[in-house]
Amino acid sequence: MKKIKINSSLCVGCGRCEVFCTANHSASRDIYKAYTLEGLRGTNRIHLLEGNDGYAVQCRQCKHTPCVFACISGSMHVDPSSGAVINDTKKCVGCWSCIAACPNGCVFPYHEKDGTKYALKCDLCLSADGEPACVKACPNGALTLVEV
């Protein structure tokens, strides 16, 4: 199964990964439209934790899947083909149980304009083109897609 390895000593703290993550999960796949027309600022699934020796981190795809057990609706599930933990935002009711269970703080609450709520987490860009946008955007090789 493929996961994203993070070498924090190579993270230059630029935050590009956040921008390209947001764009790659937008309908338009265009950064400017994603931020302005689609109002997706802050929906990045990878977060830059600033400060010296800071780094960007996203879901670590834990093998023991604490969020899947915590999920009361079954929306948080292991995708059989890729083995990745993915949240079906259509099924999710936004109860945040997964957020209370995620040991790495990598699941995030999201409120649509119309009030619907669901949890956001990294899906290794399987919903997009399958090639993680953060890995491609990282200027310094801090994020690498590895077979585990």
Partner: protein
């Protein structure tokens, strides 16, 4: 003091229809130019700090930023140019010596651009490097004039120690201290992979780079920083730094703030002290002293390593070179006035020294006239920008070329020329850990390998085009050059004919 008259040198142009206020530029600018203003909900820029290093331009996800010269429209005046005026303003306020990084940007002739290369037409065939072997490997070192035979008729002469290069290029001296360990390590990795050498510069050999010592040229400069027997025997060649093209005649000054624990251990100097390389070497006041130093270094390394002497290209460089050969040097590096630097007084950088093309031609011709050209290899350095420059240098008479600025640019340098500030946004000319981490040696060394593999292939193509299949046959082959836009004097010094002759 009253207010400063100095205006920004650059202006930040931000395309509002592209900027998504993601603050990448703010996080990446070590000069604190960009800032997100919450009240205005906009990114704003303090142009005064901008040095046009292009970090923000490159990193901006939506390419929303462009940097332009600040529209400082002083009245046109070919004599009192904007630069002349601004430099007076700076000194009128700073009161100090103007410092600059990188090679001289002056509008003085670049002779490489005035020489054209030959190519075979019908009378002899060009050679296709894809079909025929093409040799660009070089051996640097002293070579005897002839070979003596043993009783059994086989060659008895033993070659003095040589440095073998896979191509006529080497990374020039940039010390650990003036540049980051990551930058030096990238060149070390690339050098080992390419089969060429990197140069420790005046900063000693960092313990992390001992793994690459076979590809290291270890420099002995007037400060003797980091020089000990293991250091001397570690490298494949020892280079005595007499001069540097960017600042002939003066020493070097690494500011104390750059001398952190790591630098101080490697250079064997107390942490935080300014690293001054005096000029001249305190034990070299004339040519015979140099001879003494050369042979003491050879003794220290049991004559197993060639010794190179690096000099700046100055007016009587030919005579100097001849003396250096007779002083026992195996290799001479000639650094032209365009040579780069982390920090040099602007006046020296722009007004002292001569173009390397002319210096190289003069030295090569002089050594041949004195019949001692065989006893040294010549390295040409001081702003080699591409593989054509290298081919022309070899045609004039160089064995190989040092490159530094080209290597830095390959690793990310954008020639902003403010290396001495220590805030290099590309993680090269700095010791600030937050910045040095921006240079991943794996990625940077791959870029260097790409660059020089491309150059080597271009050299092969140009050689083949001239009907040559080995770099030795190009060395000193001045018939392969023709001058354009040069006067007869310049042609004579270069020893080449004018195009059309």
């Amino acid at each position: 003091m009253s207010i400063s008259f100095q205006m920004p040198r650059y202006e930040v142009l931000r395309r509002e229809d592209r900027c998504v206020k993601c603050r990448v530029c703010e996080r990446q600018c070590a000069n604190l130019v960009h800032r997100y203003d919450a009240d205005l909900d906009k990114m704003i820029a303090d142009e005064m700090q901008c040095v046009n290093c292009q970090r923000c331009v490159v990193m901006c996800p939506t390419r929303a930023i462009a940097i332009r010269r600040y529209p400082l429209e002083y009245r046109e005046n070919a004599n009192w140019t904007e630069r002349a005026i601004v430099e007076i303003q700076r000194q009128a306020e700073g009161g100090g010596v103007l410092l600059s990084g990188m090679g001289s940007p002056d509008d003085k002739p670049v002779y490489w651009d005035h020489m054209m290369l030959n190519a075979s037409q019908v009378t002899n065939p060009s050679i296709d490097p894809l079909r025929e072997p093409m040799e660009t490997s070089v051996m640097l070192g002293c070579k005897p004039d002839s070979v003596t035979l043993g009783a059994d008729g086989s060659v008895k002469t033993k070659l003095p120690p040589q440095v073998r290069l896979s191509m006529p290029v080497m990374f020039s001296a940039m010390s650990f201290g003036s540049i980051s360990l990551n930058a030096q390590k990238s060149m070390a990795i690339a050098a080992k992979k390419l089969g060429i050498t990197f140069n420790t510069g005046e900063g000693g050999l960092h313990r992390d780079l001992e793994e690459y010592k076979d590809a290291a040229v270890v420099q002995v400069a007037s400060g003797r920083f980091g020089v000990h027997t293991d250091y001397l025997s570690a490298g494949c060649m020892i280079e005595i730094k007499i001069g540097q093209g960017a600042k002939p005649g003066i020493g070097g000054h690494l500011p104390g703030r750059k001398v952190n624990a790591d630098v101080s251990v490697t250079r064997m100097i107390p942490e935080g002290t300014d690293a001054i390389s005096p000029a001249p070497h305190h034990d070299i006041y004339s040519i015979e002293d140099l001879r003494q130093l050369i042979f003491s270094l050879k003794e220290a390394t049991e004559y197993k390593k060639p010794v190179c002497v690096k000099i700046a290209a100055v007016h009587n460089v030919a005579a100097i070179a001849s003396g250096i050969v007779r002083a026992g040097a195996d290799v001479i590096a000639i650094d032209g006035f365009r040579g780069g630097t982390g920090a040099a007084p602007t006046r020296f950088r722009d007004n002292v020294g001569i173009p390397v093309e002319l210096a190289l031609a003069a030295v090569d011709s002089r050594l041949r006239k004195e019949g001692i050209r065989q006893r040294v290899s010549l390295i040409c350095c001081g702003s080699i920008r591409n593989s054509a420059d290298i081919v022309k240098a070899v045609a004039i008479g160089a064995d190989a070329c040092y490159i530094a600025s080209s290597a830095l640019i390959a690793m990310g340098c954008h020639m902003c020329g403010t290396c001495f500030t220590g805030k290099c946004n590309w993680g090269i000319a700095t010791q600030d850990e937050r910045l040095t981490r921006r240079l991943n040696p794996e990625i940077a060394s791959e870029r260097l390998v790409n660059l020089l593999s491309a150059w080597n292939h271009e050299i092969m193509e140009m050689l083949g085009g001239m009907g040559l299949n080995s770099i030795e046959a190009l060395r000193g082959n001045r018939l392969m050059l023709r001058g354009i836009g040069l006067n007869q004097k310049e042609l004579d010094v270069l020893g080449i004919a004018h195009a059309g002759e």
